[in-house]
């Protein structure tokens, strides 16, 4: 496995993290006006750790890291969300969460596009 795949997997994991962020932000917005609603917060400790490992990787071909990255991207929600008791839902915070998740998602999509653009250039000889 080459280093390229680690990049792709890391971006994939980060994209699914941001997708989950947007998903839970919209869920929180949806239940904001119901009585006694509590915000659901996400805790990305494990995925964040994997991404940091991937970012600090100097040599390519760490197959164990690659495997855990792709596992985490496939199953991002296992144990990473929690009902935060007593925390009320603020609509503006949730909308801001959604906006920043959207921004990061677009940035990641763009970077993945450029990445595949380079691959396309290498294969076809023209971009």
């Amino acid at each position: 496995m080459s280093g390229n795949d680690i990049t792709t997997e890391a971006v994939r994991l980060a994209m699914s993290m941001n997708q989950l962020r947007a998903e839970y932000a919209s869920q929180n917005i949806g239940k904001a006006s119901t009585p006694g609603a509590q915000a659901t917060r996400l805790d990305f400790g494990m995925s964040q750790g994997l991404l940091e490992q991937a970012a600090q990787l100097t040599q390519s071909g760490d197959s164990a890291l690659l495997e855990s990255l792709s596992d985490a991207a496939a199953q991002p929600q296992s144990g990473e969300y929690l009902e935060a008791p007593g925390s009320s839902i603020n609509l503006d915070e949730e909308v801001a969460d959604m906006a920043s998740a959207n921004l990061k998602y677009q940035a990641l999509t763009e970077s993945l596009n450029r990445h595949f653009g380079l691959m396309h250039l290498a294969i076809s000889g023209r971009s």
């Binding site: 603020n90 503006d92 915070e93 906006a99 920043s100 921004l103 677009q106 763009e110």
Partner: protein, 132 residues
């Protein structure tokens, strides 16, 4: 300063202005509410300071507290809450002050939303660098 840090600053600003709005509207709603005789008057105030540690755990260090204030007395012997001297007590809330807080909080909130949106559109533009 990373983009995330600027966004966090805008969001902290939003929640602070919302707290001020909350406190000012509570005070305005309580301004003409008569107090029982011998009851202490309080007004909602935003207290606390921006502490460095709290910022790391998503707590910006501000909260609304009910602080004691003076009372305003109005002579109205027929009122059911009048005391022995025929005076009715109200919390001494300065409506001009509260309305000003309301306005500045609302303007501050708008400014923070605008800063957030501006930063977002700047970042979207930055993504387009080098794109066809």
């Amino acid at each position: 300063m990373s983009i995330d840090a600027i966004m966090e600053a805008s969001r902290a600003g939003l929640s602070y202005e919302r707290l001020r709005l909350d406190a000012a509207s509570r005070n305005i709603s309580a301004a003409n509410m008569p107090l029982a005789p011998n009851a202490a008057a309080t007004s909602a105030q935003v207290t606390g300071s921006a502490n460095a540690f709290g910022a790391h755990i998503g707590d910006d260090g501000f909260e609304i507290q009910q602080l004691p204030i003076a009372t305003r007395q109005v002579h109205d012997p027929a009122h059911p809450l009048a005391d022995a001297q025929g005076m009715v007590h109200y919390p001494a809330i300065d409506l001009v002050q509260e309305m000003t807080t309301l306005m500045t909080a609302s303007r501050g909130y708008e400014a923070n939303v605008r800063a957030f949106n501006l930063l977002r559109s700047m970042t979207m533009k930055a993504i387009e660098i080098g794109a066809k």
